[in-house]
């Protein structure tokens, strides 16, 4: 009988009953801890996650810095590094997307997602746990990158609290993008495909923006796209908060209201992509 079966199960391992948010927080934490342990045991991931932005800082500032003229300044390596860093920070947090997509795709192919889905746990916890662990990794990479940037001459001019605010915006953007990564990871068939699919669209996204060159230098038809790019809003907001803005801010509305626009974009992306991802996860046919 069903009832005897039930009694048998509860015989020893009494499952604790958690509901709603408490259950979600518990399960997400268990999964996040698992992913953080993995990161510590595969330090290559963090190391390579760091090498790319550090290389960009050095290449952009020393190779191109002398040639790119930021409006209101002379073309120089020092002026460019002030302009550049907000872009590099923002690009670094969005590139963390690839980690989420590859990690989740790997869990799918190795059967771990099936294991999780067969357990009496909150449906969203596998993805929340993953994105939270990615957030910790992103924060660590940002910290190291900021130290490298300080070494090559980058400075903040608006005080430490505004700088923290800027890092907060960057982490929020990174968190939003890791949900895009989660959806990609659930949608592709292999971790290899997830890595490329997680990266490829980031190049146009991060380059058609104010990250590396002033938008005013782009052709007219491209400018509105670049101004409304969620990425540009965060970059502009960081420049404002770090005090790295040289000369007047562009007239475009999103640039004039960069901080709220950045927060708005991140919240919208998080809401939409977490909903899509959790829906996909529930029905994942694996």
């Amino acid at each position: 009988m069903a009832t005897t079966a039930t009694e048998h199960a509860i015989g020893r391992a009494v499952p604790r009953q958690r509901t709603g948010l408490a259950a979600m927080a518990h399960d997400s934490w268990v999964v996040a801890r698992r992913n953080l342990r993995r990161m510590l045991r595969i330090p290559e991931i963090v190391v390579f996650g760091l090498m790319q932005p550090v290389m960009f800082v050095l290449l952009f500032s020393y190779v191109m810095g002398g040639a790119i003229q930021i409006p209101g300044t002379q073309a120089s390596q020092d002026a460019y590094i002030q302009f550049l860093m907000a872009g590099i920070f923002a690009q670094t947090v969005t590139f963390a997307t690839a980690g989420a997509s590859a990690g989740i795709a790997e869990d799918m192919t190795k059967g771990l997602v099936d294991r999780f889905r067969s357990l009496p746990m909150t449906r969203s916890a596998v993805l929340v746990g993953r994105t939270l662990a990615d957030l910790v990794q992103t924060a660590f990479i940002l910290l190291v990158l900021a130290l490298v940037a300080l070494l090559v001459g980058w400075r903040i001019h608006e005080g430490i609290w505004k700088a923290f605010g800027a890092f907060g915006l960057l982490l929020l953007l990174g968190y939003a993008f890791s949900w895009i990564g989660a959806l990609i990871g659930l949608s592709v068939r292999s971790p290899e495909a997830a890595t490329s699919a997680g990266l490829i669209w980031l190049f146009p996204l991060t380059f058609v923006s104010n990250a590396f060159v002033p938008i005013s230098s782009m052709p007219g038809w491209l400018q509105p796209i670049a101004y409304w790019n969620p990425f540009s809003a965060t970059v502009q907001a960081c420049r404002d908060l770090f005090g790295n803005q040289v000369g007047p801010v562009d007239d475009a509305w999103p640039m004039q209201h960069a901080v709220p626009v950045s927060i708005g974009w991140s919240l919208v992306i998080t809401a939409v992509f977490s909903w899509l991802s959790v829906r996909k996860y529930r029905s994942a046919a694996g």
Partner: protein, 339 residues
């Protein structure tokens, strides 16, 4: 008494492929049902529906009396699943893997820890408990995966090809673990492509092919459906074959099959080893020299072949996610001869 697992008319299509085409089955509490079939027959899809991983297009299923579609989370807390892949995190240690699963079954951290230790000892993994699963052998990973499925002592277990890819020694060891579980009262649904595995472990066998259960019964019942036992003998001298056939005639329950070039005679009989002894005496009385003689009962291989029209390794992959490469095709053992 309600069966511990019950499925009625499950249908699931993936695009054009009808992975499940009306699967019905039931597993009484405390028994083992072997779901036997080739790759792509619908075994894995059936397990995925019963373990709440996949919604069927139609049909209904209950596990431990609970509807899997209406109460998936309650069902999940009563089942253990061990899949085709050793679904363990290879960067976590054995202990961490089991603790994580325990905590996700909503055990307290302390209980999860204690249970992990118990399982590591039971599965002979205690020494490797604090090594990452990456360093484990294939057999150890399977054991860890099975241990993870047993964390809450689930009354109902699902094992999807638990021994695929294991060497014979590890396979035997795993069989013993499974038998032990069943002795303790666990209800088990087991899928396998290995006939001897179903023969040894399952009380009942359901043969699936193209998304349908095409035969159901105990191993003996299934064997009986394709006929009884036969005596097979090889005569030493070619010119004595005809004489041997006439010597066998009184014992035969059907027409003998004769292969002249190999001097082999196969004849259906009934009466088991007593008939074999009688036949040997008769041949001896006639001074017919024989090279080889034996009583052959049909194997599940024969059953399978006669039911499906193809051997177990034939059909490649219907619609359970395209994972053919992990399942190793495997030749039939105990090869049936022309008879």
């Amino acid at each position: 008494m309600a069966p511990a697992i019950q499925a009625e008319n499950l249908v699931k299509t993936f695009g054009d492929v009808r992975a499940l085409d009306g699967v019905s089955l039931d597993v009484p509490e405390g028994t083992v049902l072997g779901l036997l079939g080739p790759n792509g027959a619908g075994k894995t899809t059936t397990v995925r529906v019963l373990t709440t991983l996949l919604r069927p297009d139609s049909g209904r299923a209950t596990v431990a009396g609970l509807d899997v579609l209406q109460h998936p989370n309650k069902v999940r807390s009563l089942i253990g699943l061990s899949g085709q892949y050793a679904a363990v995190d290879e960067y976590l240690t054995g202990r961490e893997n089991l603790q994580m699963v325990g905590e996700l079954y909503q055990m307290s951290a302390r209980d999860a820890k204690a249970r992990a230790l118990e399982l590591l000892e039971w599965f002979n993994l205690a020494e490797a408990a604090d090594r990452t699963a990456k360093t484990y052998s294939g057999g150890m990973r399977r054991r860890l995966d099975l241990a993870a499925a047993l964390v809450v002592r689930p009354p109902v277990m699902f094992m999807d090809e638990p021994t695929t890819g294991l060497d014979p020694r590890n396979r035997l060891a795993l069989w013993e673990v499974i038998e032990n579980l069943v002795d303790q009262g666990t209800t088990l649904l087991l899928t396998t492509q290995y006939l001897e595995e179903a023969d040894r472990l399952a009380h009942d066998i359901a043969v699936v092919d193209h998304g349908r259960v095409i035969a159901r019964g105990t191993a003996d019942e299934l064997k009986a459906t394709i006929g009884g036992e036969r005596i097979e003998l090889v005569v030493h001298r070619p010119d004595e074959v005809a004489e041997a056939v006439s010597a066998l005639a009184p014992f035969a329950k059907g027409a003998p099959a004769v292969e002249r070039n190999t001097r082999r005679i196969t004849v259906p009989v009934s009466g088991g080893s007593k008939v074999l002894a009688d036949v040997i005496r008769e041949l001896d009385a006639r001074s017919i020299e024989i090279d080889d003689i034996g009583l052959r009962r049909p194997t599940l291989d024969d059953v399978f072949l006669s039911l499906t029209g193809h051997a177990t390794e034939a059909d490649e992959n219907g619609g359970n996610g395209g994972n053919g490469q992990q399942k190793q095709a495997r030749g039939r053992h105990g090869h049936g001869k022309e008879s």
